[in-house]
């Protein structure tokens, strides 16, 4: 039997093939071995050597790497002694040679098998919605604020972050922050803390956070360390210390203020009569003794210290490191222009998300299975039933394809939208199928009528979705988007093709 395909069916086939390409990439990438670099530490040797986010490491020391587990094994074996070793990393088009005691400061993951990106509520990560407290922001205010937060997160060392400003029906501006993967413990502070840093001697401000007063902040090496950990009563505390460099203006201020101070001599040494008090958002963080040698001197180099405490030494160390990083970040980026309020904060565990994905898949498959059984029982026509199912499947593929092309993150609302679309799609195909089985007038005429009904249903569904695009700070945008993509693809591609397929079957 020779079947001649009409152009509408060809369009469907082409759309499905293109969508499959969009979802899976080229067949080559599907079989690609190695691990994907998802982040590289800034200013590290390896980043200077040219390793970038998005590259794929295929070999280590000539050994082929076929996955994340393999990579971790190899790395652990190489760096189990505390000695410098040579590592040769091979990517597609470069080779990087390193000598180090520690594994390269990069984060890698499995190469994703598809281009489908899932939302944070599925893949894990965190998202926050922040708003200025007591002030209505303009759109440019919101953009400025976004830049400051962006800078702060980058300086803190969070790489995979997406920040957007959003507005809703009532014209309120929000900043949405999305971080994939592991969430930093103190994310809430990091984004909402105003971070007004002031170093005072008595009541006089010596310097404040931000680049005007602070030219640079040491972040690694001997000048930024966690010095010591001690046990005290029931808890542990660890001290950190790092060096900052003041601008000339700030240094002069420092000299002027310290010049007026007296010198107190104690057994521990001689210090000035007043301390350097460090305030963060008007709270005292630390008070530093000022050595007598600094009196009246124009010094640009200042040592900042503080501590982290916890029940165990390990946690105290971790806390101290976080505190230090936080303080460094604020000193570099300065304070936020407004007091912020975190109005929504979700942190989703990646492991919980994984189970989710499988269950959703199961839900979709079981629904589709039941529907096919029902359709077959109702029509008792194998060809039509199969055509209906294949068309619905191709619709899912097209939605996923378009979602991959526009890099839309499929979150739960988006998936609910896809399920809804498939429901609408099957309904409309039933209309076509039933019209084709009527006996009045010509088949062509009847199918044309089916299309008037479908178009009517299409427009009502689309207009019902449009308000959702803006409502609720865009949290349900995904639902509107996948539904609109799905039913539009349906009306333009799959339904016309299905009509032709049914015509072929019926003729």
């Amino acid at each position: 039997m020779k079947i001649k395909l009409t152009w509408k069916i060809w369009i469907l086939i082409i759309a499905v093939v293109l969508s499959l390409l969009a979802v899976f990439g080229t067949p080559m990438s599907f079989f690609q071995k190695g691990v994907l670099v998802t982040s590289v530490e800034q200013n590290s040797t390896i980043s200077e050597q040219g390793l970038k986010q998005g590259q794929i490491i295929t070999e280590i020391d000539g050994l082929e790497i076929d996955g994340l587990e393999n990579y971790l094994e190899v790395m652990q074996e190489k760096f189990n002694s505390n000695q410098s070793v040579k590592t040769i990393l091979k990517t597609k088009d470069s080779e990087i040679i390193l000598f180090s005691k520690n594994p390269p400061p990069i984060i890698v993951s499995e190469i994703p098998k598809t281009n489908i990106k899932t939302g944070l509520d599925i893949s894990g990560g965190s998202r926050a919605l922040v708003k200025a407290q007591n002030i209505k922001l303009s759109s440019s205010d919101a953009e400025d604020l976004k830049k400051v937060i962006e800078n702060r997160l980058n300086v803190y060392g969070i790489e995979d972050v997406k920040i957007t400003t959003i507005t809703d029906f009532s014209g309120d501006y929000y900043i949405r922050i999305e971080i994939a993967g592991t969430t930093p413990e103190d994310l809430k502070n990091l984004i909402s803390q105003q971070g007004k840093f002031e170093a005072k001697i008595g009541n006089e401000i010596v310097f404040i956070g931000g680049e005007k007063d602070i030219t640079s902040v040491t972040r690694s090496g001997q000048d930024a360390i966690i010095e010591s950990c001690q046990e005290s009563n029931d808890f542990y505390f660890c001290n950190f210390r790092f060096t900052i460099f003041l601008s000339e203006d700030a240094a002069k201020r420092h000299s002027k203020i310290t010049d007026k101070l007296d010198i107190n001599s104690t057994i521990d040494g001689s210090y000035l009569s007043e301390k350097l008090d460090l305030f963060l958002d008007d709270k005292l963080v630390d008070s530093l003794l000022i050595g007598e040698g600094l009196k009246g001197r124009i010094t640009t180099q200042i040592s900042i210290s503080g501590s982290g405490t916890a029940d165990t030494q390990e946690e105290a160390y971790e806390n101290a490191r976080n505190e230090m990083n936080n303080l460094q970040t604020i000193l570099i980026t300065g304070s936020l222009p407004y007091k912020l309020e975190v109005v929504k904060l979700d942190t989703i565990s990646p492991s919980l998300g994984k189970e989710f994905q499988n269950s959703i898949f199961l839900a979709g498959i079981s629904a589709l299975f039941v529907v096919s059984l029902f359709i077959f029982l109702r029509y008792r026509n194998f060809k039509s039933s199969i055509a209906l199912l294949l068309t619905s499947l191709s619709e899912i593929i097209i939605i996923l394809g378009i979602a991959s092309i526009i890099s839309w993150n499929l979150d739960l609302p988006s998936i609910a939208g896809i399920l809804a679309t498939i429901g609408i799609g099957i309904d409309q195909q039933i209309i076509i199928l039933d019209e084709a089985r009527e006996t009045f007038s010509s088949l062509k005429q009847r199918l044309k009528r089916a299309f008037t009904i479908i178009l009517g249903a299409y427009f009502t569904a689309v207009v019902a979705m449009i308000p959702l695009y803006w409502a609720a700070a865009g949290f349900f945008k995904g639902f509107a988007i996948t539904t609109i993509i799905g039913i539009t693809a349906g009306v333009l591609i799959t339904r016309p093709a299905f009509t032709d397929i049914i015509r072929k079957i019926e003729e």
């Binding site: 919605l129 109702r378 349900f476």
Partner: protein, 299 residues
């Protein structure tokens, strides 16, 4: 075959005789719904029971097997308006996680839970969702506005498609009845609605008019066969559509109820809504249309 024909004939004459009276059923249900909702609103000051996503609060998902009843008993005084739900593996029926929803703020709730469980909650063993009360209030208002707009837009499109007053109104009335009856039943069941649940109502706006459009189209825009034949033809197609959707939804509902509160709620509302849709399309809408066509003598 003759039996089937006989039955069809009987059904036809029954319907010809009583289709106006049949309208009393939806009217009675609507009146009941209005009274129920009026009382509901005066008691609760709102149209629905809200969950944490609309009142503000925290939802915490903790992996592992944790006894929901014991936890609720122990913490009901400490955590404001606590609500729990177990998540389980669909095959083994073993609990995999517990969801705890409360009006209490995240940090505080976390501490209380850590105290109860005796271990720290972190990124690996738990998920947190927090929404401030102002924002959730805001979300609620906006989603209501979105539904009103969606309904209004839908009504306009229906008028544009049919360009006749009574039939268009019939479609809109039955869509409204779907939504309103669903809302009433959801409240009778005492379901605490989330923001996603409201979105389900929005879906209902789109879903419920499908069969009404099919029906109106078949009756007004074509002349083959008698009025009753056209109605019956539309019914056969329409009921297949709705039953297919219902089947798919019920099966998906069984699966998703094991792991997602959000999807469970969306699907539950849709199942109720589609159930009412069968009723409102094939009784409410059909009766109004039949009345309209007969009075115009367009049979």
């Amino acid at each position: 075959m003759t039996e089937e024909k006989n039955f069809k004939k009987k059904l036809e004459s029954f319907h010809d005789k009583y289709y106006k009276l049949l309208l009393l059923i939806p009217i009675a249900i609507l009146v009941f719904s209005f009274i129920y909702m009026f009382v509901f609103y005066s008691n609760n000051g709102d149209f629905i029971y809200k969950d944490f996503s609309l009142t503000g609060g925290t939802s915490i998902t903790i992996s592992g097997q944790i006894d929901a009843v014991k936890l609720e008993e122990a913490l009901s005084k400490k955590l404001d308006e606590i609500n729990t739900r177990e998540i389980y593996d669909l095959v083994t029926r073993e609990q995999t996680a517990l969801i705890i929803q409360t009006k209490t703020e995240t940090e505080e709730a976390k501490e209380i839970l850590e105290g109860y469980l005796g271990y720290k909650l972190n990124n690996k063993n738990s998920s947190f969702e927090f929404i401030g009360s102002d924002l959730s209030e805001n979300f609620y208002k906006q989603l209501l506005i979105a539904i009103l707009f969606a309904f209004g837009f839908m009504a306009i499109v229906v008028f544009i498609i049919f360009r006749t007053f009574v039939p268009s109104l019939a479609v809109i009335i039955s869509a409204f009845a779907d939504i309103f009856m669903t809302l009433t039943l959801v409240n009778i069941f005492g379901i605490k609605m989330s923001s996603a649940g409201i979105v389900a109502f929005l879906m209902l706006v789109g879903y419920s008019v499908d069969t009404d459009i099919l029906l109106t189209n078949r009756i007004l825009k074509r002349y083959e066969g008698s009025l009753n034949q056209r109605i019956f033809g539309a019914f056969k197609t329409g009921i297949t559509m709705t039953l297919t959707s219902l089947l798919a939804l019920v099966f998906a509902l069984i699966v998703v109820s094991s792991f997602s509160i959000i999807l469970t709620q969306i699907f539950t509302i849709l199942v109720i809504g589609l159930g009412f849709d069968i009723f409102n399309t094939w009784i409410t809408n059909v009766s109004i249309l039949k009345w309209y066509v007969k009075s115009k003598g367009k049979e």
